[in-house]
Every structure is written in C-alpha cells, then in structure tokens.
Symmetry: C2
C-alpha cells in the first residue's frame, strides 16, 4: 500500500517484518537515518546502480541477487574490495509482500556470500501504474588499494584483451524468460560476484590496465568505451570469443549479435602483453574464470574503434550499440 | 527513449549532453564504473534515499534540489560532514530531455552550494506507463567525527526537545501544488541543506544526544521513533511549535495535523537540559534556525509514547502516522 512508503507505522512494519529479518546486522539495526561505519583502509571506491530488470525472477537469479552482484562487480573491476551496500526500494502499490520478502532474502544471501554488509536503506511506494513491481538501487562502497590505477583510459597499444568466459548468458536468459521462448537447452543468467576472481587476477600481475564487466551493451560497449577513453584501437578474434551453443542458437534465431548481449558475471581485462598468459592461467584456476582467454590486442591503428576478425577471415567494425536492443536487462 | 538506458550510444549521448555539463568534475569525468576518492577522516557515514516526489517541480524546489538536500540532511543529522553523492536516475520512456536537464542543473547547483561532489551515477529507462517521469536515488557519504555518538537510542529522561523552525511547509507546498489548491498566501517548500546549522549546533554543545530531520511522517514520526528506540516518553507543548498561518489554515481546510506533515529543511535535536538554552541561542544565530525553540521534554513516564499538551490545557497521544496521509511527498 502507499502507506508503506509514508514513514509511519506501515513503513516501520515493513522494516520489522521484511527488511530487518533479511538484512539485520549491528549497523542497520540502529535504524538511524545514516549508517556510521569504520572507514576502510586505502581510498574509497563508490558505485551506484538502479535495477529495473524484467522479469523480477529469471533462470539463474532475480532482481535481488542481481543488484548485489552488479554493485559488487562494479567495485571489483575497479580493484576495490566491496564492503558496504545501501539498498533502496521503489515499490509499486499492490506489489506482493511475499515477493518482496523473497527478493530481500535473495539479496541478503548474495550479500552474505560476498561478505558485504547492507548498512542502510530506503523504501518508497508509488501509485499503481506509476512503477513496475519493484525497482532497486544499490550503492556500494569499497576499499581501493593506494597506488592501484585501473581506469578506462589506461589501455596501451600492444596490450592484450582478456575475457573471463562465455558471453551472452544473462541477456538471453532474461529475454527467453520474458518472451516465453524455448530453446534446445535452458540458458541461465551468469549473474555472479567477481571480486574473488579479481583478487586472484591482481595477485597474478601488477600490469592490468583496465577491467570492465560487460553488462548493458555487452562486450562491444565495454571495449568501445575503453577504446574511446584510451584513444586506442582494438582488434578482436571472433573465433576466440566463447559463446555457448544455446546462446548462439538463440542469438541467430532472434537476430542478435552475442557481442552486444549483456553479461552479469564476466569481465574483460586489458593487460600488458608480457603478463597476458600468466593472467589467463591464474584466471583459469578460479571457478569463474575457467574459460578465460585472450580475445584480442590493443592497437595504435584506428583509435577509438573496435574491429573484429571474423571466422571467415574478413574484418568488421564492432560499433557501440545504437538503439535499444534489449531494454531492462538489469 | 528506452535506448537511453541501454548502455550504448544513446546512454553515452545522455551522459555527454546532460549529466557531464551539469555535474562534471575530475572524478566523474573519468567515466569509470566506480569513483575512487581519497578517504575522509574519521568514520564513514552512509545514507540512501530514493525520491519519487510528485509534482517534479514545486514552489521552493524540485526533485533535483530535494534529492541533494535530503541526502545532505540525513548525513548532517548524524553529525557527519557531507562529501560525496551518487546520483541514479530511473526515467520513464518519453520523459523530456529538457526537463531532465533542468533537474540535473538544479541538482548540480544544490550540490555545489553544499560543497558535495557528485562522483558517480547511473541511468535506467523503463517503458512508458511503468515509471512516472523520473525517480532519483541519491546515496551520500560523509565524514563522521570519531567519538561523536548521535543515535536514535540516545535520549534520556530530562533532556529537552528542540525544533529548528516552522513545520509543515514542505508537505503543504507539495500538496497545494499537486492538487492545484490556492491558499491566502503561497506556501513554499522549506527544502534546504542543514549541514552548516548542524556544525553551529555541534560547536555550541557536546551534549546533543540525537538529531533527526522530520521528513516523511513529520515531527510526530521522528519523535515516536526516538521515543521507541530510546525507551523514553516525550511531552511536547502545542503552543511552542511554530506553524505559519498559511500552513495552519491549509491543514485545517484539509483535515491535516501539522505534526504529521513533512519538512525538508528542519531538524529536531534532543539535548541535555543544562545546554538547551545555549543550543537554541546558537541555532538562532544561523539563518535556518532563527525560529528555533524548546518544544518539549523527555520523560521516564510512558516510554515509547509521545504526548502533546494542547493549547486548551488537555493532553493527547501523538501516535505514529497510521496510513498514507501524504504519499509521494519526497
């Protein structure tokens, strides 16, 4: 009901009956307007994301676990250790408490698994027809080591482009579940927290220039952003990019290019060439990096442009996503 | 368009044409998935709020300035110095870029005036009819001094309840603008950043136990929360609580109690009795505390309950807001 967002008795009941049982911890339990925590070592990393994924529950996850993983990953690819998360809910009047509880429980489980604390939150309710069930904002705070510089502007010609695994799983899982499509085999979202994979990677080499998790807009957007920010070109090999047969089949049927499809448990790293093999070997020792491989090279030619060498030996420009191929994917 | 939220070219254009011109600063301009900043001294204060106020523009402010003030105030009432803010937008397909630009400019101006940096952000777009123009989440990070304990559980019998000024302005401004009501004189929202008032207060006395900004649910909810958390009672004097004639008139006409109406530029402080007068004097020296006064006393009687002595000498229980008196007020 609208009253659940009004700051009165119903808001307090929602806190007591749904959020505290799921998220409760010594900081949140104080119920102050702000959480006060010990400051972490190093510099602060801050990231924010709103989640509007549709449907709310999908193969391999739900909006709650996705919100935690997405925020943990945005911190992790900056080299930061995820520590604290805020959780803000915008509910549509009429949304079922049982579904909200299921989502909160999923968020709480994901946060526990990642070792992050949900320290503060907010709930608003909008009238029926002015929202869509639930939207969730998670803002994350992490500890970024002093001296570690990972920035989209850091790629240099000669660097290698490393990808951690199969692409397109999340986007196809959402799309097939949204449209009720059936493929030969069910595709599950790859939604997963990447912070321990990143730890493994940073321990293996000090020569990673940039990391990105290729979510909205897929691998193509992530590479294009890095190419633009670093003023370098990129050449990637189609044959090197792992795509599951079911995802490839779905993409062919739907007219999608897997390079543009969202991922929620993959990362791209740009690394100095001399450490690329070492990095891939380290990644393969981690459950989330078993399919890691070098997919391309940073070039001084065609700055700002990403070019793919196809399986047929031709090349094509991999531009940024122009339109709205897959709305509300996260 | 939906494509503005898809992470591709349109998202980049929105960033380049709307958000960077408004918010641009050396941290945000890096366009990484996370902002990395120097850690502040002391402990970290973290707060989050989503803003779904309707209408988006109202007398005395708009959703953009409100989002900054609300988050600055949630940090300030914890005694923290506001430093960094994240800004996440959920747009409804079809929302006008011109209105978004106006809101972003207003947020940027408010942030500059408060001395806080918008360091990271996010934009999502939902289909027409699944949102309502724009919702904004702001998450704030501040520096909380070591040793300062301001918690809703800190009120003690004998303490005085101090209020910083006129109540009900924000709620009545929103309601009159939403419903197209005309009163004798126009009521403007009191939306304002309270961090410098709080600095003045903390400099005047080390004996403030709790501060709250009485937003949703008004003064009554804030006092009830403190009474419940501290396991104390409260007695407040109706005659001591400042309400503008226009707000009082509007409340009478609409059947509202000003104690339940939202404020966005006021605060309540619970302070040791020996420092109450000194605190009020200090507050009155600040433009946002000119009408500050003692409005009541913390009691050991009736723990968890707030009682008001009316102008007629009778007493009544001031309970928490039960329903949805004023939805979407912030």
């Amino acid at each position: 009901m609208l009253g659940h967002g009004s700051g009165g008795k119903l808001s307090a009941a929602l806190m007591r009956e749904v959020f505290l049982p799921a998220f409760g911890n010594p900081v949140l339990n104080l119920l102050n307007d702000q959480a006060v925590v010990e400051r972490p070592p190093g510099r602060l990393a801050i990231t924010t994301d709103s989640f509007v994924v549709k449907p709310l529950f999908f193969p391999g996850g739900d909006i709650g676990s996705l919100a935690i993983h997405g925020t943990v990953n945005d911190l992790a690819v900056g080299g930061a250790r995820p520590l604290y998360i805020s959780a803000a809910f915008i509910l549509e009047e009429g949304f079922e408490i049982a579904a909200l509880r299921r989502i909160a429980d999923s968020m709480a489980a994901a946060a526990r698994a990642c070792g992050v604390l949900i320290v503060t939150g907010d709930t608003k309710v909008v009238d029926r027809g002015k929202g869509d069930g639930v939207f969730i904002n998670t803002t994350g705070i992490g500890a970024a080591p002093e001296g570690l510089e990972l920035s989209a502007g850091g790629a240099r010609p000669g660097d290698k482009v490393v990808l951690s695994g199969y692409i397109g799983d999340h986007g196809i899982a959402i799309l097939s579940s949204r449209e009720g499509l059936e493929f030969e085999s069910r595709v599950e979202s790859d939604s997963a927290p990447l912070h321990t994979l990143v730890e493994t990677m940073l321990a293996a080499t000090g020569r990673i220039r940039v990391m990105r998790d290729p979510t909205r807009g897929g691998v193509s957007s992530a590479l294009n952003e890095i190419a633009a920010q670093s003023q370098v070109g990129m050449e990637i090999e189609e044959s090197a990019i792992p795509v599951r047969p079911a995802v490839r089949g779905a993409c062919e049927m739907l007219g999608l290019d897997p390079l543009y499809v969202a991922n929620e448990g993959k990362l791209i790293a740009i690394v100095a060439p001399e450490d690329a093999e070492k990095l891939v070997a380290a990644m393969r020792s981690h459950p989330l990096g078993q399919e890691a491989r070098i997919i391309g090279t940073v070039t001084s030619a065609h700055p700002g442009m990403v070019v793919e060498r196809t399986a047929y030996g031709t090349t094509r420009v991999v531009d940024m996503l122009a339109g709205d191929q897959l709305p509300r994917i996260c």
